[in-house]
Structures are given as structure tokens and as C-alpha cells.
Symmetry: C2
Subunit: 257 residues, 2 copies
């Protein structure tokens, strides 16, 4: 039986918080529906920032949340626990991602979120933010697009788990994170920070840690990737894409979905 989390919720307020007007995440499409536009109006919202340790529960499935979060810095993940402790990781959260979109519409979510690394969160009052977003058609549009985007990404993952081999899944996860880090402007080159333990990869891809180990070794032996000390390197991008059928169109926020 798995422990739910290593650390209880705990954090430290960052004073003063980064000013949204100067926010380095602003230019990137994936960032919160708020922080991108209407910066002046945004000042009216009570923004805070928190420094949260690694492996910390941010909120638990079905528990009402009174705050809306975006991830300023660090990694996290969404997950569900089954009654007997099995865990399914639903998505990994990267710098710039909104953690809790749904909370702008309903009070509690169907999943839990915890940090993977030390993280800085932007924290907004839930009701206030929801009202603010509803008040402007452009922000609403943005919010709704992000929801559609979340659905599209989840469907992609569903096809992974249902119909793709362990090797395909593994390759696609690496390419997905690579592409998202690029999109969020947190990366350069083909080597990037990869703080996931094999247990996280396993719980995200529907495999066991042992099989993740085997699969990763296969990718390494074929010269597709290298991995050492939390650093993932894509050695042969072309072939990695070829064996996994990866396409990054589902990552685009505009157009198709």
C-alpha cells in the first residue's frame, strides 16, 4: 500500500512575489489565462507566491480548493490513487502550466496534485479569479481553449495507454516533455532536466518500474537517448520520432485543439 505523499502540505510565502507585468512566463502560450493579458486588472487580484518543497501534496482529490494555482517554477504532477494504493499519474506539470484549471468552474477536482521538485506556485483566490475570467470575453475564450487543450492532451495519453507499446509510450513521454519544455521556453538544446524517478514514469505510462528500466535500456542501447543524473538527452531525434509516431500538433493551443 502506497503512502499518499511523502510530505504534508507545507510552504513558505515568497515576499515580495514576482510582478506579473515582468513575469518571464508571460510570452508563453501555456501560461495561465490570467497572467498573459489584462495585467492592470490583474493587479486587483490578490496574487501570492509560494515556495513549496519537493514531494509535497498541494491538494487532494475531491477536497474543495479555495485557490487557483499556476506553476511558476519546478515540476509537479496530477494523479489519482485507487483504493488499494495503485497510482495513475494523469499528467506532469511543467513551469508555466496551470495546475487547477477546473477549479475555476467547480470547487473540487477529481485528482490530486503534488510537487516533484521544489516549486514556486502563483496562488490566486479561486472565486475572485473565476469571476475575473468570466468578466472578460477574451479571458473566457482563453480559459475555454485551455480546457479543450487539456482534454485533447488527455485523449492523446489515453491512446498511448490503450494502444501503444511500452517502448512507444516511453519515447513519446520523452518527446512530449521535450516539446513542452521548449514551448514554455525553459530549455535549450537536446539535453534537459528530467527529475522523474522510474516510479513516476511507470505510474504515468501504466507500467512497472522494472519494465520502465528495461524499456529505457532498450532506448539507450539503440542510441536514441542518453540519461544520467536527472539529465535526459535526445541523441537521435529523427528515429525517436519514427519509432514512436510522435506528432506535436496536439500541443498547439490554437487552431485544431
Amino acid at each position: 500500500m502506497r503512502e499518499d505523499v511523502a510530505n504534508p502540505t507545507s510552504y513558505q510565502e515568497i515576499v515580495p512575489p514576482v510582478d506579473c507585468a515582468a513575469c518571464p512566463r508571460r510570452p508563453h502560450v501555456m501560461y495561465s489565462p490570467i497572467c498573459g493579458e489584462a495585467i492592470d486588472a490583474l493587479r486587483g487580484l490578490r496574487l501570492r507566491q509560494r515556495l513549496v518543497p519537493a514531494k509535497t501534496l498541494i491538494f487532494r482529490e475531491d477536497e474543495p480548493v479555495e485557490e487557483f494555482y499556476t506553476l511558476f517554477d519546478g515540476w509537479g504532477f496530477r494523479y489519482k490513487l485507487l483504493a488499494d494504493g495503485r497510482r495513475q499519474i494523469l499528467s506532469f506539470l511543467l513551469p508555466g502550466d496551470p495546475l487547477t484549471l477546473g477549479v475555476l468552474t467547480v470547487k473540487a477536482l477529481s485528482y490530486s496534485v503534488q510537487t516533484l521538485t521544489v516549486a514556486r506556485l502563483c496562488v490566486f483566490d479561486r472565486e475572485e479569479t473565476a469571476a475575473f475570467i468570466q468578466s472578460e470575453s477574451e479571458l473566457r475564450q482563453r480559459y475555454q481553449r485551455l480546457s479543450v487543450h487539456e482534454i485533447a492532451g488527455t485523449y492523446e495519453r489515453l491512446a498511448d495507454l490503450g494502444r501503444r507499446s511500452a517502448k512507444e509510450r516511453m519515447a513519446r513521454l520523452i518527446l512530449d516533455i521535450h516539446a513542452r519544455l521548449n514551448a514554455n521556453g525553459v530549455m535549450q538544446g537536446n539535453t534537459f532536466d528530467f527529475p522523474l524517478r522510474q516510479e513516476h514514469v511507470a505510474d504515468a505510462l501504466g507500467l512497472t518500474t522494472i519494465h520502465v528500466s528495461r524499456t529505457l535500456r532498450a532506448l539507450r542501447e539503440e542510441g536514441l537517448v542518453a540519461y544520467h543524473a536527472n539529465a535526459m538527452q535526445i541523441l537521435d531525434y529523427q528515429n525517436l520520432v519514427a519509432i514512436s509516431g510522435f506528432r506535436d500538433n496536439y500541443l498547439a493551443l490554437d487552431g485544431t485543439a
Copy 2:
């Protein structure tokens, strides 16, 4: 390599369409965000109804759709095809379900939809409907709730594929459909119409038809369900729930999500 669909898109206009004010789906939560409220304003929208044969493609992944559909009657499903023909069914669509929520925000969706049985669709103009929904805060709220609901259901499915056994998945699919038919008011008793071929079940649960057959036999031999001539019967609800860990809370549209 799988054929994309058996039948090309084809349909027959239903004249006159059922009047929304008298719509038997109206009382049920899952029905379209439109048809439940503001019936008078709704009259302004160009509603049509179509009779569509079984196994017919309604629209294809990434293709712009100019209409918004709800399923008045019959069954359908959302799916994705991989490059080599593997198919992942994302969800089954039951009477009362909106087929294409996302289309109210973006022009094309990341999945295809086809009918499973003969079906009657309610058809609305996409732009007109989107504008109508944006125009009233209550309808917007409803639309956003339905999006959150779709996400929650998909996450549930993700946990199924990633972390539950074939038997659990099978049992949960049966219970899920049972519960949704109940919620949509299309059912009575513990026997219900089940028009899925084993191939559909396999493509939804991430299994092969052979394994679906084996799994279903196991459920039958344990006296949990009976299945004959497209009719599924739940014989031992308690135990079916027990072995599958099914909870129907994710189906509620209000509260938690």
C-alpha cells in the same frame, strides 16, 4: 490495417424536428447545455435533426466542423486512429450526450466520431450556438461544467487503462454504461441494450477481442453478468461493484466534478 469507417457520412433530414420545448431529454443533466434552459431563446437557433445510419462517420479528427451535435437517440463513440490503423475508443456516446462540446471553442477536434447504431442527431450551427452560449452566464457555466465533467471522465478512464486489470476494466465499463443510461433516463431494471461488438469493447479498454471474450466469459461464469443478443444483464450488482472498485461519483455533474 483497419478501414476508417464502414459507411461514409450520409443522413436523412427529419422534418419536422422534435420541438426542444417538448424534448424528452431536457430533464436530464447530461443533455446539451442548450436544450435544458432558455428554450425560448433557443428557438432562434436553427435546430435540425438528422437520422444517421449505424457505423457512419460524423466527422473526422482535425477536420473543421461547422456544426454542434447532440445525440438525441442511439449510440456512438469518439475515437482516434493511429497511423498504422490501431484504434483507441475514447468514450461511448449515449442518448442525451453532447458529441462535440469542444467545437464551441475551437473549430476542429482531436478525435473522430461515428455512430454505432442508427442515431438521431440534433444539429446546431456551430458559431451561432457558441455565441448564444457565451451570451448568457448560466449557459456558459453549464458549458464549462460539462467540459470539466468530460475531463474528469477521461481521467477516470486513464486510470482504468493504466492501472486496472482486464476484468476490472470490463466490469467498470458495464457499470459505467449502466449508470449513464440510468442518469439519462433511457433505462429500467438491470437489463439494458448493449450494442457494442467485442471489437468496440477491446478498442475502448486497450485489449484484444480475444481477451475481451475471455474476460467476459469469466464474468459470466462467476454469475456476475449475463449477455445475449445485445442485451446486457447485471446479475450480481454488489459483487460487480466490489471486484471493480466502481464508484459513480465521477458521473455527477455538480459539486466535485
